[in-house]
């Protein structure tokens, strides 16, 4: 059987990849994907915990997270489309109208 630590390690690695991706990539779509990566790393750890602790709560939570993530992606893409209509930009350094 795969030990719990491995799952936690995997989850942490994916989470960090997500964070780093979010921070260094300027393309909004990729940033969105990075956030999805972070969410999925959480899903992995929740399911792993759920299995090892013999508690269903974690898995239930995962369903909620998946649902919310879908809604989030829909809304994010919609906002991006609205932005794209006004200004053909998908890079964050092109949307710095407001600052200071």
């Amino acid at each position: 059987m795969v030990p719990l630590d491995w799952y936690i390690g995997l989850s942490a690695v994916i989470f960090v990849i997500g964070v780093v991706g979010f921070i260094i990539r300027r393309n909004i779509l990729i940033m969105l994907m990075s956030v999805e990566l972070m969410l999925n790393s959480v899903n992995i750890s929740l399911v792993a915990f759920s299995h090892y602790l013999q508690d269903l709560r974690g898995q239930i939570f995962v369903f909620f997270i998946i649902t919310v993530a879908a809604a989030e992606a829909a809304i994010g893409l919609a906002i991006l489309v609205a932005l794209f209509k006004n200004k053909a930009a998908v890079h964050t350094d092109e949307i710095t109208e407001m600052k200071g």
Binding site: D93, I95, T96, K99, G100
Partner: protein, 641 residues
Amino acid sequence: MDKYLLIPLLPLIAFTINIIFGKGIIKERAHWIAILAVLGSFAIAVSTLIEVLNGKTINYDVYSWIVSGSFKVTVGFLIDQLTAIMLIVVTSVSLLVHIYSVGYMHGDKGYYRFFAYLSLFTFSMLMLVMGNNLLQLYFGWEAVGLCSYFLIGFWYEKKSASDAGKKAFIVNRFGDFGFGIGVIMIFLTLGALHYTDIFAKVGTLQGQTINILGYNIDLITLIALLLFCGAVGKSAQIPLHVWLPDAMEGPTPVSALIHAATMVTAGVFMVARFNPIFSLSETAMNVVALTGAITSLFAATIALVQNDIKRIVAYSTVSQLGYMFLACGVGAYGAGVFHLYTHAYFKALLFLGAGSVMHAMAGELDIQKMGGLKKHMPVTYWTFLIASLSIAGIPGLAGFFSKDEILWLAYNHGTIGKIVWLMGTAVAALTAFYSFRIIFMAFHGKFRGTHEQEHHLHESPKAMTIPLIILAIGAISAGWVGIPAALGGSNAIAHFFEPVLGHPHVTAAHEEEFMVMSISIVAAIGGIFVSWIFYSLKPEIPKTLAAKFKGIYTTLWNKYYVDELYGFIIVRPTKWIASNILVAVTDGKIIEGIVNGVPQAIRNFGERLRKLQTGHLQHYAVSMAIGLFVILTLVLIAAGR
């Protein structure tokens, strides 16, 4: 709702209604709301006085705003004998002035605004006298000052009026600064703000000293003198008296209400209210008595030679206020407040009479250009005469009894008392002289103004004469509550005040009292007589005298050059410092470094910090990540891992 609350609340409601709806809806009907409100207050004040006469005193907190330990900010009422009399004075004079203003301010474009301010003033004054704690007193104190500022500068298009308003405001800052420190010191040393708590604890301060710049100063004396600073400013005593004569730029009803009967007497009220503190310090008492006596004499001499009718009355007010402080200073608080009460009526009457004259003379103030007004405006003449007789101290009238009480009690107060008694008696003679100077010059003789003015002369409308008549009744009879035992009376008012203000114990015989009384009567009649000779019988005498004693005359005419002195020692140096030193220092970047530098440094820092807010989403995310990382590191270090 209890009725005491309504006393100040009614004028406040009237103010709110008039200020909001005055311009659009109410307009020329503004006086109805204001008059009804103050009438209601007056009625309740009367019923309250009856309750107090029956031995009731009221002391309670209406409303607690902030309570935090011993720091209690509350609105509360203390209605005892002192407050009850003040309530009657304030509401009755305010009511009459309101009615009078209907005639006087008729057609003014700020009509509703005027009544709104009058109501606000009445509210503030009532809060001041009814308060049961220091903060409320302070609030009322500042609020009446603010209303006075608005009302002096009511005709703000007129430069002299808005200047006078500013002057009153600035001069009062000096006094209020001391008063404010006094209030803070009382709270710091006694930990109390309510009068009853303060008076209960003040004894514990006896003998304590405070070290200031190496000098040990008696704490109670210091507190009393700081409080007295406020009184000096508000009640226009030397050296802060300069604002009151200038305040005559305001509409005359305002002068009658604020600068004669009520606001300026707030200082006397305050000293009387804090008599448990003042009485503990002999030094403070002597300062109060001497300040009062000197101011009284000083202002009376200035009044001798002035020609502006309102200014004469204004100096007479300063002088009479000095009388009241003189009384307080010799421990005769009751007599001081008694004089405050009679003075309110005859002085308001003098002002309103002067206003009536101005009304007829189309705004003319110079008594040299008047004369013979008696036959044109009989009501004004007779009421003005009554007021003058009253202030001169002719037996039987209100002024006589209160003035006599003060002089008699001063006479019995040791050496210092004898000195101020002498000064007071001299003032009595001078007062009679200058009061009748107005009578003889303005109302008797031949008219000396232009033909046009003479044609225009007329008696004022009913709205103005009726208040005059009512006040005249007051000026005659207000003193009858204080007929001394020597004249077969019971001196009811002294006994009435005794529980709050105490009453000096006098053992001297009636004969001695008769002597003191006779001296002041002689002084009064003498003053009137000389005035008659000078201004009616042989009008050339004053001119000869003025020419002969030119130095004295010009000094008096220029009011002892006090304004010029202040201009020289305060205003000019300030301006000079501002224009030379400050600018020089600013060029030298010293003041700039302190005054502008700190905000500027923060702004510069802000501008730099602003650069961090780049608008880049990445940078925001990095900031969050770094924040997280730093917090985690610090927590781990703190946890010792």
